[in-house]
Symmetry: C2
Subunit: 365 residues, 2 copies
Amino acid sequence: MTDTLATTQSYPIARLREFSARVFEALGVPEDDAALAAEVLASADLRGIDTHGVARLPQYEQMLVQGRINPRPRISVVRQSPSTATVDGDNGLGLVVGPRANLLAMEKAETVGTGWVAVRNSNHFGAGAYYALQGLPRELIVQAMTNSPPQVAPLWGAEKMLGTNPLAIAFPALEEPPVVIDFTASALAFGTVEDAARRGERIPEGCAIDREGRMTTDPRAMLDGGALLPLGGDRERGGHKGYCLAAMVDLLSAALPGANWGPFPPPFPAHLPAPSRSVGMGVGHLFGAFQISAFIDPLEFRRQVDDWVRTLRSTRPAAGTSGPLIPGDPGHRAEAHRLVHGVPLIEPVAEALRSLSLRTGVPFD
Amino acid sequence: MTDTLATTQSYPIARLREFSARVFEALGVPEDDAALAAEVLASADLRGIDTHGVARLPQYEQMLVQGRINPRPRISVVRQSPSTATVDGDNGLGLVVGPRANLLAMEKAETVGTGWVAVRNSNHFGAGAYYALQGLPRELIVQAMTNSPPQVAPLWGAEKMLGTNPLAIAFPALEEPPVVIDFTASALAFGTVEDAARRGERIPEGCAIDREGRMTTDPRAMLDGGALLPLGGDRERGGHKGYCLAAMVDLLSAALPGANWGPFPPPFPAHLPAPSRSVGMGVGHLFGAFQISAFIDPLEFRRQVDDWVRTLRSTRPAAGTSGPLIPGDPGHRAEAHRLVHGVPLIEPVAEALRSLSLRTGVPFD
């Protein structure tokens, strides 16, 4: 298995984007929406967020084929004010509903200084960084958050009650690359636990619990009815803070627009257990855009961000390290490399896409 | 020493508030501003945030006496749009500048849906929860963040480059108490480390580094040129996420309004080392208010928050615990108790206030 995982082949990003777009079209998604959804996936592939790119396409396919996602949503604004809106995604692809809602937030920010759009009745919206990056060429700071199916126990709980609930935001610099922040409220990603289980390895102490709520380093104990812990882990190391962060994202992105909060968002991928109740509509997101010129001269701001980046980069390195990264560095490096050398897909992903190609008739390679 | 720390006497909140207000007045702060500043401190005392209440009064005194805080600031709006403003605090007390800027954010939210006010040239603003709580009677969700003098190393750094950078937000419920979130981006509070050093105890593993950037559980090694780690601790447990959170708060609350970001905010309390550069004006804050009715029917929202609270409270408890708390629970309990029984002050704090009383002529007990 290790050999298979290690075997990769690289694909030009344009080809992956085109493949995704044509697959979405083959599944009934209108051409413009399919192109948009493919762009969100390609953005993740380019920036090295391999869990949120084309590798997920078979999961979106499954949701569409099973009729659990509406390929042709009528996205509507159900409530609005000059700086806000609540959008109903009509159970469309989060990869389509998300970008359209984010665009509305950006347009409002350009009109009245900030724009905040909360979304209900949506689905998995891809990687949060995509949304944050959209603000940069428009001289906006964009923040995106979403709730997600439960994987995380509240501190002192023994079951999954909250999603990993990511938050992303990006800040434009002048000569330096932008600061791009995208992180979850859990200590570990679920994929990290799955991966450790496959490899027969342990997970770090203080990041997960078993079904009784006891700390465990055995990934199988977490997968078998346990849960991830919030960022920080146990109480004495700040696990209550990660829980607060997950709660904030849940209440803002799901309770505020009337989506399913807490343990109740619809499952994605489709094989996750169905929630016991529905308390709202679909998954929720919140997009917020700040017009930089509403606060400060934008050129001055970019210079300050340059200075911030250089200052943090010049931090004295911890023993045994080459010093701190700037948030966004790994993504910038992946993008520079992958634009030239293509996106490496491990063989199981390439195989899944070939299989998807056979099912949809869209050529892959 | 343990005996002295254990000796407490309780004081009615009204008396502490009155004492603080009269001390601020004695130090040249106008009556209205003094009352406001005293109210911010009293809010922390009531809710059990003992590090941010009247115990800090001697530190504010020192800053005022040394001329490092302006007792009579001319607070001004230097840039604004319908949903935003940048406020210059004229180096006033953060306890005065903060509430006035927060009020402006709330007023803007009531007019155009949200209000976002970034503040430069301010100082330590007290406990973030105070600001979040102001939104509740107005049917607003208020978020407050501030940067602060450096205590935290970026992941893989060996020196303090960022503040603990707290973020607070509160959500109104209907029958349940509100959800009140207030947390920092560091694993531990600086006070926790000081306390462990005094008691000769260890601090939890993975929360602090020594001056070489090596993990340490010795509080003295952290105090002697080391640093706190961001929430999450090391890389494998998500320390990069806490670093991202600290960076986000720093860039939004300090770089955006033109305050001192990163390691450069002015020291508070006064004995902290002076920063090597000034890159802006004073400390920065960001206040954001969401008008709930701009997104959803407010009564429906309150019902959903009730349901959220009850759902999370009914989480199956982890072995050996009585189950999860709801963010805000400890504060609500402290408030209920202290309104009746007064605020317990440990003897060193009471003694410091008696000494302050002698210096200012304001009677304490």
